[in-house]
């Protein structure tokens, strides 16, 4: 999913670069606080591993194959802050040393693969772990599901960027269905592979998986009951939002038809800012689909964040043993 130059217009790319710098800056500060100096070579080796893991491909449809992104895997193995830094290094090295991904699109690529993918995976992972049994197998399953969904969310991030500043001329709804659809399939592959990788690592060296550091403690914590029902619902909501909402939207072509019938679309077409303005996407009828999908995903992410926060807070309220 490395966006080349020219896909997204200059102002959006610049804004994304600024946002990415801020996000990774925060990641550096947080990771820096949590890192012992021995972690620096480990992070470098992890980055090299992610780079190599991205070579793993798997079939997604007749004649097409998908590649691992690795953001979710990195998040579970390294924790979200270091994962975002490591993924940013991977993306940056790919752009500058291997000419993979446009230099102007670096901010966008970092946002999608180094911020959205690891963070959405981490939040989903923690949310799932909160009501799954505290075993290594459950952790691996949670990691797989989280990574799979994070791929779709990252793809939706790309679609959002396209909606804001895409230069292609294709309707956002088409891009949404194409990217969303393909990445749903890629997400399944990435989820399965991530789950197996995490399971393998947990079996050999459980101490190195940051996302499962709680499993090393054998003091037999009780399963958390608070919020379990809420989380099951939230989990289901997320699946619906991420995978089904792009397709469940009221017919985007219908909206465009209506816009055409009313003469609105032609006006938008001949606007001088067509394709150049960062808000070009909003002028078309297809933005209903995007807005819903993005809102749905954001809503669920926020809900998850809240759910996670609820879990943590309720832990503190419990009487300490």
């Amino acid at each position: 999913m490395h966006i080349p130059d020219g896909f997204i217009n200059g102002s959006t790319s610049l804004g994304a670069a600024v946002a990415a710098a801020g996000g990774i800056g925060a990641g550096l500060r947080q990771a820096g606080k949590r890192l012992a100096d021995r972690h620096i070579p480990l992070a470098g080796l992890a980055a090299a591993f992610i780079f190599a893991a991205q070579m793993i491909n798997f079939p997604v449809a007749v004649g097409t194959s998908g590649h691992l992104i690795g953001g979710g895997l990195a998040a579970v193995l390294l924790g979200p802050w270091l994962a975002s830094v490591v993924m940013a290094v991977v993306v940056g090295v790919q752009a500058l040393i291997f000419a993979d991904g446009g230099v102007s699109a670096l901010g966008l690529n970092i946002i999608n693969m180094a911020i959205i993918a690891p963070w959405s995976a981490w939040l989903i992972y923690k949310g799932l772990r909160a009501f799954l049994p505290r075993t290594r197998r459950a952790a691996a399953v949670a990691a797989g599901i989280a990574a799979g969904i994070s791929v779709e969310i990252a793809a939706l991030g790309f679609v959002a960027e396209y909606a804001i500043g895409g230069t292609g001329g294709a309707p956002v709804s088409t891009v949404l269905i194409a990217m969303g659809g393909v990445h749903a399939l890629i997400g399944i592959g990435e989820g399965l592979i991530t789950g197996v990788i995490v399971a393998t690592v947990l079996a050999a060296r459980p101490d190195i998986v940051v996302g499962a550091s709680d499993l090393l403690d054998t003091s037999g914590a009780q399963p958390r009951r608070i919020g379990r029902f809420v989380l099951a619902g939230v989990g289901a909501a997320l699946v619906v939002a991420a995978f089904l909402s792009p397709f469940a939207n009221s017919n985007p072509d219908g909206l465009e038809r209506v816009a055409e019938d009313k003469g609105f679309i032609d006006t938008a077409q001949t606007s001088p800012i067509d394709g150049q303005s960062p808000f070009a996407g909003y002028g078309f009828g297809g933005d209903g689909a995007i807005a819903t999908a993005v809102a749905g995903v954001l809503g669920v992410a926020v809900t998850f964040g809240i759910a996670y926060g609820v879990i943590r807070l309720s832990k503190r309220v419990k009487t300490p043993r």
Binding site: G6, G169, I188
Partner: protein, 254 residues
């Protein structure tokens, strides 16, 4: 939308570009790509200027145009996307060779192809004239955060080691009948990848021990570097300066 590339692009030659300090080239690359992306899509002549500047730089660097062209060919997904645009684009359509194509889509295809190609060509040129350790050093000199450049340094050092191990794993699996055309078979390669991560992590621990053994106490040692002269900066900024000139003129007169 990526091709996936694992080969460093450096080509050893003696040229003005090869001799420029790496941080100058990195800045020049960013500025040049910025100029290309900022150019309004209707001003074909401005892209012509950019293309001429790029080709001129390639000739100066003694990088064969075929080398760059071959690398461009690998960007299949985005070329495909661009080619589809006129067919799936919205709105007003115009007949081209008997087929009704979307105007917005045609503009979109043009934008993606010309800007993507120029951007990729510039990236390839920079990588082809700058050795990988120098690129890393250039990023250090540009005051990128130390944690980032340190991680990047280790990453780059061990990419070949780890991708080599992954390739050997795949060869061994293929020899035992592994067929990656079925997703169910992703299991064995995922298990191997898991072992590879554990081995990579353990190597990271050994590297840290080696660092400690040579006196590392938490901060990477600072190596003195040669200073870059004003003249080198002026030479390096030549191409991007003219690219921006054409971009600004294009804005003004369109």
């Amino acid at each position: 939308m990526s091709g996936f590339h694992t080969h460093a692009l450096y080509r050893h030659e003696h040229s003005v570009l090869h001799d420029l300090p790496s941080q100058v080239k990195i800045v020049a690359l960013v500025l040049f790509v910025g100029a290309v992306v900022a150019t309004p899509r209707e001003t074909f002549w401005a892209f012509g200027v950019d293309g001429a500047l790029l080709i001129g730089a390639m000739l100066l660097a003694r990088i064969p145009l075929g080398f760059v062209a071959r690398r461009l060919v690998f960007e299949i997904p985005f070329v495909l996307f661009a080619v589809l645009m006129p067919f799936i684009g919205t709105g007003e359509r115009t007949p081209v060779l008997g087929v009704l194509l979307s105007v917005a889509g045609l503009w979109g295809a043009w934008t993606i192809l010309v800007k993507g190609t120029l951007g990729l060509g510039a990236s390839v040129l920079m990588a082809a004239t700058t050795e990988v350790p120098d690129i890393l050093e250039g990023l250090e000199r540009l005051r990128l955060p130390k944690l980032i450049t340190a991680i990047a340094g280790f990453m780059v050092r061990y990419i070949d080691v780890i991708t080599g191990e992954l390739r050997r794993m795949r060869v061994a699996m293929t020899a035992r009948g592994y067929d990656p055309s079925w997703i169910g078979q992703a299991g064995p390669i995922a298990t191997s990848a898991g072992s590879l991560f554990v081995r990579s992590y353990e190597r990271g621990e050994r590297v840290h021990r080696a660092m400690l053994s040579r006196g590392y106490t938490g901060a990477m040692p600072v190596f003195e570097r040669a200073t870059t002269s004003k003249r080198q900066w002026i030479v390096g900024m030549g191409v991007p300066a003219f690219a921006w000139l054409s971009t600004i003129v294009a804005w003004v007169i369109r």
